[in-house]
């Protein structure tokens, strides 16, 4: 069995209630696309290269932090530091609660990729009988007090003051080289934070997801046998927690595990 533990910040530029789910700029909810930024698209982005990356904000990047082979940690495993990516424009499927309750919004489609140095694990969540993409609601909201420290959010009570301080520091830094548009955008963010007070600060609550990925919609590539195991095509179990929502930075913290059946090969035995 191979177990990957991953975590990090993702970006999701989406409107929030009571704005329509497809609201492009954000008006009456907690989130806004400020001047100079593209319209919202609701896509969950775990890779920094694909993100808009507000600054000051969070450092985007969900990566594998720990690899275990048959219960034993492998600190030199090739997949340590591998990016965890959701493909095909995965987004939260709520539709103003018409489709799903706010606390149970599914991630749709669910198609994961973990890839590094030529090793690739990829699998889609599809119906075994029909082959169609499956949609699955979150399994509720889970309080996880450790998430504040893990994510680096720290004390939620001082979050707004710290973020406003960081924005003002950037505005006041002559070396930052801000354009007029960037200044207006930062001032807009500061205004929203001041207006909303301590409302939408990152809190240690997150939506829990549990997926069992099965079937032939899977790819395991390991031409140089760096995985140190042969990953089985049996069910892969994915558990995710997405929370600590930072409405100002349009980011959330993701952590989770992937467990796949596997058989160790010679490299693993040598270790």
């Amino acid at each position: 069995m191979i177990k990957l533990t991953f975590s990090g910040w993702f970006e999701c530029r989406l409107s929030t209630d009571p704005d329509p789910t497809d609201e492009p700029r954000g008006v009456s909810g907690w989130t806004y696309a400020v001047v100079g930024e593209p319209d919202f698209d609701r896509v969950i982005r775990t890779m920094p290269a694909e993100a808009v990356k507000r600054r000051p904000g969070q450092s985007i990047g969900v990566t594998v932090r720990r690899v275990e082979l048959d219960g034993k940690e492998d600190v030199s495993h090739v997949l340590r530091g591998a990016p965890f990516v959701l493909l095909d424009g995965a987004s939260f499927e709520g539709r103003n609660t018409l489709a799903n309750p706010a606390t149970e919004e599914p991630i749709f489609p669910f198609h994961l990729l973990i890839e590094k140095e030529g090793v690739r694990l990829r699998r889609e969540y599809r119906d075994l009988q029909t082959g169609e993409l499956r949609i699955q609601r979150a399994a509720g909201v889970l309080f996880d007090p450790a998430a504040l420290a893990e994510s680096g959010v720290g004390d939620p009570d001082t979050f707004v003051a710290r973020r406003i301080g960081a924005i003002e520091a950037l505005l006041g830094d002559p070396r930052a080289g801000l354009t007029s548009t960037q200044r207006i955008a930062l001032e807009a963010r500061r205004g929203q934070l001041q207006r909303r007070g301590n409302g939408p600060v990152p809190l240690p609550f997150g939506m829990k997801y549990h997926y069992v990925l099965e079937g032939p919609w899977v790819e395991v590539r390991d031409p140089q046998r760096k995985l140190k195991a042969t990953v089985d095509l049996g069910p892969w179990i994915i558990d995710l927690w997405l929370g600590c929502w930072d409405a100002d930075a349009l980011c959330g913290y993701l952590k989770g595990t992937l467990i796949a059946p596997s058989t160790p090969n010679e490299l693993a035995r040598k270790d």
Binding site: P18, P20, R25, V27, S28, R95, L98, T181, E187
Partner: protein
């Protein structure tokens, strides 16, 4: 007074009462007068909300529409503030329905189509118009406390009426609750009670974030609810609390200042006033008929049809006739979801589509027309079936329009919202939807 007047007669009486000169304060001292006044309050909250929504949806969104970066953030802030007020009006509407229901009334969501000129029965004109200086002055007039009338808006006040201001109507209603309840108590007849409504018909508070609906059980809760509504509209004498009146005045001042800085600044799209898909028999002169050759025409029809379906959901929700708890929960979710997830985005789309055959002409807007009778049968499965049937028709029409015009990208997404709402209702019907 005949205790069994038809609702039509009641309405006519309410209109006639409205025409009493303003130096004769509105006095409510019978249940029927209270029902009339609350029905009027429901109607006024409804039409105010639609006017605010229309103005908000007309606001320009991006630099591609001629805004500077700073103006883009400014107009977004105005839109947000106006939408917040519209949301407050929705909660007032919900509380007014609870007030009505508590004393034995049945919420009625019918209203005349736009426009309506100022008249003895409408103390200010009801118009769908883009955000502008005169539009904001009209909104301030609607929300203003009586004492501010002369100073702030000299010369535009209509002829004196029994309730020239929304706050006046509510104050009269609050006094009416006290007067009538005390009269019943004095009668010594235990069968005489003001609060004869079904408790289960009261809408609960937890509809959504910042959606504060009061449940009404007695005079104290009724007065607290009314006090809250009046304070939100007019503010307090000290001006220490934010109010609709104060917010609109603030936006007007900012708009005038922005115009001084940039005389060419235009915050709203060139949308027509009072759009309509057809002549409406109950509308005053001044409607703008959307050209049938424009794609805006069928989109506007879809919007108005869906808006009426939402009103049917609300009237069913606020006047349950055997619907099971699950059915009421579904109606609550769907009516709220239709407002945020379907009606609003289509209204926004309409403010970008041409109202005339000339693609370069003025834009259309959401007509919020009511085409026919909103009345539904009192038989729960029957009325749920009608609502489900309408949603299915609307879902298909949305899909058809999205396929007809590839430019309607938001409609492609909204077709999924319709499908979700339609599936919810269909599932409810399959399970019966009513208490066996």
């Amino acid at each position: 007074m005949n205790k069994f007047r038809s609702s039509m007669t009641r309405r006519a009486t309410a209109m006639a009462k409205s025409a009493v000169a303003s130096d004769e304060p509105l006095v409510i001292d019978t249940r029927e007068e209270l029902l009339d006044a609350l029905t009027e309050a429901v109607r006024i909250e409804h039409v105010l909300m639609l006017q605010y929504l229309y103005a908000a949806f007309s606001i320009k969104r991006s630099t591609s529409e001629g805004l500077t970066d700073a103006q883009q953030e400014k107009t977004r802030d105005w839109e947000r503030r106006i939408l917040e007020i519209a949301l407050d009006e929705m909660t007032h509407l919900g509380t007014a329905c609870n007030l009505l229901s508590a004393v034995g009334g049945r919420p009625d969501f019918t209203r005349p189509n736009f426009p309506q000129a100022a008249s003895p029965w409408y103390p200010f004109p009801f118009e769908l118009a883009k955000l502008s200086d005169p539009c904001l002055v009209r909104f301030i007039r609607a929300e203003s406390p009586p004492s501010a009338q002369a100073a702030a808006l000299e010369g535009i006040a209509p002829d004196p009426l029994s309730f020239s201001y929304v706050g006046d109507l509510y104050r009269a209603i609050a006094a009416g609750f006290e007067t009538i309840d005390a009269a019943f108590a004095r009668s010594g007849d235990p069968r005489k009670r003001l609060f004869i409504g079904r408790p289960e018909a009261q809408a609960p508070t937890g509809w959504a974030l910042n959606f504060k609906i009061f449940t009404i059980t007695d005079v104290a809760s009724a007065k607290a609810a009314i006090d809250y509504i009046v304070r939100q509209g007019e503010g307090t004498a000290s001006g220490s609390e934010p109010s609709h009146y104060g917010t609109f005045r603030g936006i007007l001042a900012e708009l005038r200042q922005a115009r001084q800085q940039d005389p060419s600044f235009e915050p709203a799209r060139d949308v027509v006033s009072n759009p309509s898909t057809r002549p409406e028999r109950d509308a005053a002169a001044g409607a703008t008929i959307i050209a049938e050759s424009s794609i805006a025409h069928p989109v506007a029809e879809l919007l108005s049809h869906t808006y009426s379906t939402m009103l049917m959901m609300l009237s069913t929700y606020f006047d349950p006739a055997g619907e099971a708890t699950e059915a009421r929960a579904t109606l609550q979710i769907c009516s709220r979801g239709l407002m945020s997830g379907i009606v609003r985005p289509i209204a926004e789309v309409l403010s970008t589509l041409p109202a005339t055959a000339d693609d370069r002409g003025p834009r259309a807007g959401a007509p919020f027309e009511i085409y026919g009778d909103l009345g539904l049968p009192a038989y729960a499965p029957g009325r749920l079936a009608i609502i489900a049937e309408r949603l299915e028709i609307e879902a298909n029409e949305c899909k058809r329009l999205a396929e007809l015009d590839p430019g309607l990208t938001r409609l492609r997404f909204l077709a999924g919202n319709y499908a979700s709402a339609s599936a919810r209702l269909a599932s409810l019907l399959a399970g019966g939807g009513s208490i066996p």
